[in-house]
Amino acid sequence: MSGQYLVDIQEERLSFFTPAGEVKALNNVTLQMREGEVLGIVGESGSGKSVTAYSIMGLTAQNGKIVGGSVEFNGHKIHEMSEKELRKIRGNEVSIIFQDPMTSLNPVWTVGNQIAEAVSLHTDKKGRAAMARAKELLELVGINEPEKRLKQYPHELSGGMRQRVMIAIALACEPKLLIADEPTTALDVTIQAQILELMQELKQKLGMGIIMITHDLGVVASMCDYIAVMYAGEIVEYGTTDDIFYNPKHEYTKGLLRSIPKFHEHDYSKLVPIEGQPVDLLNPPKGCGFAPRCSNCMKLCLTHKPEKNQYEGVHYARCFMQQKEDFLKERGEA
């Protein structure tokens, strides 16, 4: 264990082996997080944000494999562990909330049964004791009439309630890390706010670290300490929430921020979408993954991968624009 980190991913490369070929989903992802921190991973579909987080609990689809680098969590070398060893960690030290609460609960078992299952898998509480704990958990996540809810089936609950149940399952063994994979995407806006509030409250109460996977920058702004922006299987920019929002360095991050609606500034100008399509990871580009969609793309960007530009503190970005600016500055001064 590299000491102080709860999650320590070094140069992780992960590929999915499909009939069409090797899909390089993650390319040298390095990411660290300490206990009790909230890390946001943002990016569009297929950027590798979910794959990165899932690999922390060894939850990769069958055809996926870590082909390089290391993934450590809470002292465990995840990339070297067997399925059996991973099972002891999953739902215990690290757990996850999925995007769609409508389909993430098993329709033929009661809510109580599904929460109690998570409890009894990793603790000594079995049977009635597990059910009692399940009731506590339902109270914890703010579900009224927990006694009654325990005996209900998922289809009898609303979407927001089901997501609360998912959170209850995730918190069953008080994990050190909670991964939330777009936990609010499938919910109504009012319910979204409630769920985020609940998560914040629970974080304060239980002190676990949270990884928020989202494409909604509003969500990360309100919750996260650090943000990693992912594109084409790489972390293109990383920094504190303030760094990312007030001092974005990568063209993609800037594009993302431009595409947020601004209601408070009386700014009725049109939103600026990021044009183009995400890259095809079957044939990853030679240069910067974002180059084909970048409005400031230079020749260099198409042929070379940009190196890390370190800024103040932890903030870094991989974008040649910095080099260009530096060069122009130097020449101007010279």
Binding site: R87, I89, S95, I96, F98, N106, H122, I169
Partner: protein, 305 residues
């Protein structure tokens, strides 16, 4: 639940009534009659026989007489089997068919469901491909062919099993296997596709994320969901198997209801046709009711109202 069953019972009675009425009139529209096949009957003798069975009366009167008879539990006399009532014949023939069919059903369920599940878990591997080939063959081969092949192998060549009748336990093997072949593989395919579907569901990922063992994921989380389509198929299957297969019963010379039913039609044994049709209709209705109840037990989302 009791209210639901009562409602279904009433609906079943209406269905049975409609089946009886329709069968009665369609049956009488078909040319021919029960006494035509018998050689050289004098017109007087034929008239006397028709009078005995009430066939000389107007059709509608025959219908009302028959229906009131049913209400009293009287299905009439068989025309072809002199001196025996339809109820007696069904009473002796049905248990034979039900025994063979029941065994075939148990065999089909106990092999088809696990086969399908195993294939799903080994998708794309040898065992899965083998099952796909086998099940295509099992579904495509008609039962008269599979029975003949079985008889050729086990009776003619190996001389292990008897080919006719139901004298001892051994003699059940071939008819049961021949009868079970199609439903086994059909269920295996059904189970395979439904299992594959379930394994891709989000709740299976949730189970994995909880740290559930593979065994528990399969038996607790997957099986109960995957079995739902199979249960739906079970209703009609149960009725089809239990009431006897004409082909199997003919080939293995089994005195069952299936062959009795078909021969009653060819010989225009009107009371026998009516009796078996109504019996089969009611049986199928009851089996479907059982399946619906089973469905509601397995799947809590289904409410029987």
């Amino acid at each position: 639940m009791p209210k639901y069953i009562l409602k279904r019972a009433i609906m079943s009675l209406i269905t049975a009534f409609l089946v009886a009425t329709l069968t009665f009139f369609v049956m009488n529209m078909v040319p021919g009659g029960p006494f035509l096949s018998e050689k050289a009957v004098t017109p007087q003798a034929q008239a006397a026989m028709e009078a005995k069975y009430g066939l000389d009366k107007p059709l509608f009167q025959q219908y009302t007489t028959y229906m009131t008879g049913i209400l009293k539990g009287d299905f009439g006399l068989s025309i072809k089997k002199r001196g025996r009532t339809v109820s007696q014949i069904i009473g002796t023939k049905f248990p034979v068919s039900a025994k063979v069919g029941g065994l075939a059903l148990i065999l089909a369920v106990c092999t088809g469901i696990p086969l399908g599940a195993v294939a799903a878990f080994n998708r794309g591997k040898f065992i899965d491909n083998l099952l796909v080939v086998l099940s295509t063959a099992g579904i495509a081969i008609p039962s008269f062919l599979s029975s003949t092949i079985l008889i050729y192998i086990f009776t003619t060549k190996l001389k292990w099993l008897p080919s006719l009748g139901l004298k001892d336990a051994q003699s059940y093997i071939m008819p049961v296997v021949a009868l079970a072949l199609y439903p086994t593989f059909y269920m295996a395919r059904l189970m395979r596709s439904s299992m594959l579907d379930v394994m891709g569901q989000d709740y299976m990922r949730t189970a994995k994320a909880k740290g559930v063992t593979t065994f528990k994921a399969i038996f607790k989380h997957a099986l109960r969901n995957a079995i739902l389509p199979v249960i739906t198929y079970l209703g009609p299957l149960l009725a089809a198997l239990m009431t006897g297969s004409f082909i199997i019963e003919k080939i293995f010379n089994i005195p069952g209801l299936g062959s009795e039913f078909v021969s009653s039609i060819t010989s225009r044994d009107y009371p026998m046709i009516m009796g078996t049709t109504i019996f089969l209709a009611v049986f199928i209705i009851i089996m479907n009711l059982f399946v619906d109840i089973a469905y509601a037990i397995v799947d809590p989302r289904i409410k029987l109202k």
